[in-house]
Symmetry: C2
Subunit: 348 residues, 2 copies
């Protein structure tokens, strides 16, 4: 068996916020690239982007674009992935998909490398990158589950506008200026670009991320519920979620309540597991007001955990405050880490 040492990599959605971060990480982490192909919609084709100090012309993504590609990183929206990921697989590429298109498909591994790297090896061509809010939560929960068992998760999120795309970021900036100038706030994007009504996000909180389903849950909440069970490989785990969009630009924060299975667990026990966990940085010292915040976690790769507390009324209950950059560990970084696992373990 010949093992390749460099790879032909395609990035689909290269001009988007996540695509840009992926390119930056591939370069920074010296991903062993033989040839890179930057793909996008017809609209952006022809633009030139610098990658590793070389100019690369963006091409329109078509089925034929994937000829000779070893690894294709998709982050151009669900419909593009639905159309083109199978075409890439057909041509021999391994797809790492950053949209929700394949996450819950039975034959598609849904992977956070620190949590379930081994699932990658069963892939049939497509590996899915989970939703941003799920990734950071399961990264923090994994070491706890492994050591003490996990019965239940109840999470309330505090999510940054960049999760809704660059336009949402611009909208928050605009509205904040309007508010400070005593002008009326114009809302055209948030809470959900594709939904009917829009509400101001500046100096506000919107309890809607993505569209609503028939049970009154948002798709974002359902993603957290379903993806958490799949990644932690536990359909008996009870997961409840409320997702809220807030007026900050980067990083999602999460107030996570858990019940562990084992009796007699202490805050120190959790600290010990979190402190030694892969991808987690513990920032938790009330005496010195040490805890993570969206601003402190921005542009960093780790999942930060603080405010670990034992429920005063329930022996097995604990609180965690989990913060991470939603565009890094929540998206681009996790995608690149999956790609690194694929080549390191020869799981192509």
């Amino acid at each position: 068996m010949t093992v390749k040492t460099t790879y032909n990599v395609a990035v689909v959605g290269a001009t988007g916020a996540v695509g840009q971060k992926i390119l930056k990480l591939l370069a920074e982490k010296e991903f062993p690239i033989n040839e890179i192909k930057l793909l996008s919609s017809k609209r952006s084709a022809g633009k030139i982007i610098s990658f590793n100090n070389k100019d690369v012309t963006i091409e329109e993504a078509t089925p034929e674009s994937f000829e000779g590609i070893d690894i294709a990183l998709f982050s151009a929206g669900g419909s593009v992935s639905k159309e083109l990921a199978p075409e890439a697989v057909k041509r021999g590429a391994v797809v790492i998909d950053n949209t929700s298109a394949y996450r819950m498909a039975e034959d598609v591994p849904l992977v956070v490398p620190e949590v379930n790297k081994e699932a990658i090896k069963d892939h049939k061509g497509i590996i899915a990158n989970p939703n941003c809010s799920t990734i950071q939560m399961v990264t923090a929960l994994k070491p706890i589950k492994e050591q003490f068992g996990l019965k239940r998760v109840i999470v309330s999120t505090y999510q940054a506008v960049s999760g809704a795309g660059t336009q949402a970021t611009v909208e928050l900036q605009k509205q904040a200026k309007q508010y400070l100038n005593n002008q009326e706030l114009e809302a055209n994007i948030l809470p959900v670009k594709g939904d009917e009504k829009h509400y101001p996000i500046a100096f506000n909180a919107l309890p809607q991320i993505d569209l609503f389903d028939e049970e009154g849950y948002t798709f974002e909440e359902m993603k957290m519920i379903n993806e958490t069970k799949k990644i932690l490989d536990d359909q008996n785990l009870s997961v409840a979620a409320t997702c809220v969009r807030l007026p900050f630009f980067t990083s999602h924060a999460e107030s996570v309540y858990i019940e562990v299975e084992k009796a007699g667990v202490t805050v120190k026990d959790l600290w010990k597991e979190l402190d030694s966990a892969d991808g987690v940085i513990l920032e938790d010292d009330p005496a010195t007001q040490t805890y993570p915040t969206p601003l402190s976690a921005a542009n960093k790769e780790a999942v930060f955990v603080g405010r670990v507390r034992k429920d005063l009324d329930n022996e097995n209950g604990f609180h965690l405050w989990v913060v991470s950059d939603n565009l890094l560990k929540g998206a681009a970084l996790n995608t690149v880490q999956i790609a690194q696992s694929v080549i390191k373990n020869n799981w192509l």
Copy 2:
């Protein structure tokens, strides 16, 4: 027995944010005032404030200020209440105290009129107004508890900066301008004026409201836990709380997870109770993106509830999204409502 028809009222802390709202409400609601006395620290004494189109000179609060006063409304901080509330009681006044000084004292009723008005009649001179984040939550929980029983509450809050005083409001405005002008953010007040470190709140989230206790809980979280049990008169109720300060000016929002005692309860059952509950307005229709937000609830008197959902994994679990103006129902309005109950029922 002679029943008075007008009352001598003192407002202590008349120049503060809550004091100002109290004066506005007393006038708007035509509280039957014979004489009003506006009291404050030495610093503000001598200032003139307009009340009901009459100029009133602010006097320094001293024990003697309360001679002849029937009702004294305190919102000038815990130390002022500790010193002067007993002096007011000694001189025959009923004190309604808006600080945390007496809330957990055994012989002091802690009252939200919609929830436990009857507790007022056992007062020994002092009636306590609960913490803002507690008031709106128990107002929403009361009708549910009464009809279906309540086993458990797990709340994560989204709290406005005005809860930390006028200086915190000014700080958010300043920092937001600094951020938009690419200047460094100056933090001198939040998360807690009296604590050692200060962090930016603009475009951020701070998981600290009030100081930390030795268990790693903040006092705000302990207030929610202890006050909820006292007001709902149920020491067996399990309450867990995480309190977070966010970059908006007015209204607290709360992601409240509950477990009811009765089996087979539906979302429609909860809607019915909430819809007819005193002080509650149900705003819950996912199909039309109807839910309350901090901006939509600001300057309104009700407690707004939306996003009512049944936990998909736990038969007795439900989610609520509870929003209310923290300076109105959370503070000034509740204080005035207690005063109204006192005189209406002749509980002086």
